[in-house]
């Protein structure tokens, strides 16, 4: 038997594991899970476990309902936050058809395909996210914050320190190293910076992290949310992504002799991102609410520009410490933590690679100066606005060959159909704003 499978079987036996949760992700980025017992594990590892895919958003239509979830034994991990119900482990799954072919609606497979394309060009893709989220007393629309703290604030304003600490302990037990964590700008808002890893592991890691943050919050009797903009007057939650490409041991983004230390590949990658930014925004910012974060007056990008160390640019080049070649990277600042990380990393990588392959020209740097320009000046300078709402983002995505090619027909079409429905529902909604503004006077 494959040693990896043997490892899983032996650990389940030795550690008294009673349930193995099989995890996968639907097209919108919701974690799906079902549990099997140790008795079924060996068959599950060899053949996969069948389930009804028609019940999963973005999976099959009813005539092709049967799916197999095939656990990836390299992701076997005992879960630390099931206190009182010891003996639970999880594995991420790949979804295949009963014939054993990869299922094109499986976001993990979409990312693997894109990573294969990068590998053919000799690159491996590394990602480090900064994940922001809010704590509230509960999930009611009253959004009751826990504190009035701000950026880097420490006690007594930062009452959530203890929750953050237990979250980090749980993450480290799961093998997810946390680079930093602190209170963010807004009341009750927090940030976790994760250390970089390869993109597939990172997408799994982001899914695990979101669950862990929520589980730990529940244990403390509070609620954690990755909703992009829960509070109107303060900064929303983003997920800045630090990206780099490696060729073997070498950081392909680094060139000591080039301007800003950025290699030709890095410049091509940024150019690709800027070229395709509008098309991929529906994926990185997939909800109606996502666009309430990408507005002026807050620490969120508005225009599709790049700049060295400038918070208002869509692509920022972080300063690196002298001699730290490996940390040369670019930061993509529009995504929010409620995206599907598999799909988001796929479209970002595809856009960047397209820039490298087509040798696209990098426009000049533009930072906060863009904000002072008139819209005509911006148009003349070729600066585009990030899609202003989900409808604009859908429109930009719809006509993109790159998005269709990267996501595959199945995901591309299902995603657009689903998002159009979401937008149509939103358009018909009469909001609190309208009632408060208009009802008393009209």
């Amino acid at each position: 038997m494959d040693r990896q499978k043997e490892y899983v079987l032996s650990t389940v036996k030795e550690r008294g594991i009673r349930f193995i949760r099989l995890w996968f992700t639907d097209v919108q980025g919701f974690l799906k899970s079902f549990a099997i017992t140790p008795a079924e594990l060996e068959v599950a590892l060899d053949e996969g476990v069948s389930f009804d895919g028609s019940a999963i958003d973005g999976f099959s239509r009813s005539h092709e309902a049967d799916m197999l979830a095939r656990p990836d034994p390299s992701t076997f991990q005992i879960l630390p936050f099931t206190s009182g119900h010891a003996g639970v482990a999880r594995m991420f799954c790949d979804i295949v058809t009963p014939e054993g072919d990869p299922f094109p609606g499986d976001p993990r497979w979409v990312l693997k395909q894109t990573l294969n394309r990068a590998a053919e060009l000799g690159y491996s893709f590394y990602v480090a996210p900064e994940i922001e989220f809010f704590y509230f007393e509960d999930s009611s629309p009253a959004t009751k914050v826990l504190d009035r703290g701000g950026y880097f604030d420490l006690t007594p304003l930062d009452v959530a320190q203890e929750y953050r600490r237990s979250t980090i302990v749980a993450l480290e037990k799961l093998g997810i190293p946390v680079a930093f964590s602190h209170h963010e700008v807004s009341p009750s808002q927090h940030e976790l910076g994760l250390r970089h890893t390869d993109a597939l592991t990172m997408a799994d890691t982001i899914m695990t992290t979101r669950l862990t943050v929520k589980e730990v919050a529940i244990e403390h009797g509070i609620y954690a949310t990755f909703m992009p903009k829960p509070l109107e007057a303060v900064d929303g939650s983003g997920m800045h992504l630090h990206l780099s490409l490696f060729e073997g041991d070498e950081n392909a983004f680094h060139d000591p002799d080039a301007d800003l230390g950025l290699s030709k590949e890095a410049r091509g990658f940024i150019a690709g991102l800027l070229t395709h930014a509008s098309e991929l925004t529906a994926v990185t910012n997939q909800w109606v609410n996502s666009y309430k974060r990408l507005v002026t007056g807050f620490d969120a990008p508005i225009f599709e520009t790049w700049a060295r160390n400038d918070q208002s640019a869509l692509v920022r080049i972080p300063a690196t410490k002298k001699g730290k070649i490996d940390s040369t990277r670019i930061e993509y600042r529009s995504p929010d933590p409620s995206c599907n990380p598999y799909l988001a990393l796929s479209v970002i990588l595809a856009a960047g690679l397209d820039g490298i392959e087509k040798d696209l020209d990098l426009p000049p740097q533009m930072g906060s100066d863009v904000l002072a320009m008139s819209s005509k000046e911006r148009r003349d300078a070729g600066v585009r606005h990030i899609p202003r709402n989900l409808a604009e983002a859908i429109k930009a995505m719809e006509s993109s060959d790159l998005m269709r090619e990267t996501l595959g027909d199945h995901v591309f079409e299902w995603f657009l159909k689903n998002k159009k429905r979401e937008w149509a529902r939103y358009e018909q909604h009469v909001s609190r704003y309208e009632l408060e503004e208009y009802l008393p006077v009209l």
Binding site: R3, Q4, E6, Y7, V8, S10, T11, K13, E14, R15, P73, S74, T75, F76, Q77, I78, P80, K112, L115, A119, S124, Y126, E172, K173, G175, I176, P177, R195, H196, T197, D198, A199, L200, T201, F246, G248, D249
Partner: protein, 217 residues
């Protein structure tokens, strides 16, 4: 499989994991009757009783089980209670906390009717780290560490080949041995995860040798 009855019903994790390591299958029991009900077909290999907050009840359970089921009994006691043991009867041997898994294995082996034959070459040790290459389990100070397969394999390789510097390429080809999405940066990522799981005090077991690679020990 050799079954060991343990009392009380919620034994300390250190005892449970030490028993697992010693090759026994621990089964918690709630009392004398329970020990009879749960007795496996082949009988108990031995009974281990932790003397906790209620020494009289525990010692009573120990001696009754020993008499009624004719099975050897090992007591686990705090050092403070050594004197107390002097006056008691109805046990075959005792061990003091904190439990040393090796000591537990030897003592149980001496009193059990059917000691498991643990092949000691199956266990790799470094300070308080133990890797059981037969069962793929890792423990630190007798507490199990939850490792993924690749984390376990990397740690095993490093412990087996201590005090030697390994480059990332060497580790990738010796431990992973196949093409991996991550490339050789994967090694750094796994070392960091291993350090996180080993914990702050032990993270320095794996040292980074600048511009060369890693060394264990």
């Amino acid at each position: 499989m050799r079954y060991v009855a343990i009392y009380p019903e919620a034994p300390s994790p250190a005892l449970t994991s030490a028993l697992l390591q010693a090759g026994y299958n621990p089964v918690p029991i709630g009392g004398v009757a329970d020990a009879g009900d749960k007795q496996p077909e082949a009988g108990w290999s031995s009974v281990v009783v932790e003397i906790g907050n209620d020494p009289d009840t525990a010692a009573n359970v120990a001696s009754k089980v020993r008499e009624e089921l004719t099975v050897p009994v090992l007591l686990v006691a705090d050092r403070m209670l050594t004197r107390d043991l002097e006056a008691r009867e109805g046990f075959d041997d005792f061990i003091l906390t904190p439990i040393d898994p090796a000591e537990l294995r030897i003592r149980l082996g001496r009193i059990s009717a059917d000691p498991p034959d643990m092949e000691s070459e199956d266990i790799l040790r470094f300070e308080d780290l133990e890797l059981n290459t037969g069962t793929y389990q890792a423990t630190i100070a007798s507490r199990p560490v939850d490792l993924t397969y690749m984390e376990y394999e990397l740690l095993r390789f490093l412990v087996e080949n201590m005090n030697r510097v390994w480059s990332r390429e060497q580790l990738l080809s010796r431990v992973w041995g196949y093409d991996y999405f991550g490339g050789s940066r994967t090694v750094d990522v796994h070392v960091r995860r291993l350090r996180a799981k080993l914990g702050e005090e032990r993270a320095s077991w794996i040292t980074t040798v600048r511009s060369v690679g890693y060394r264990f020990g």
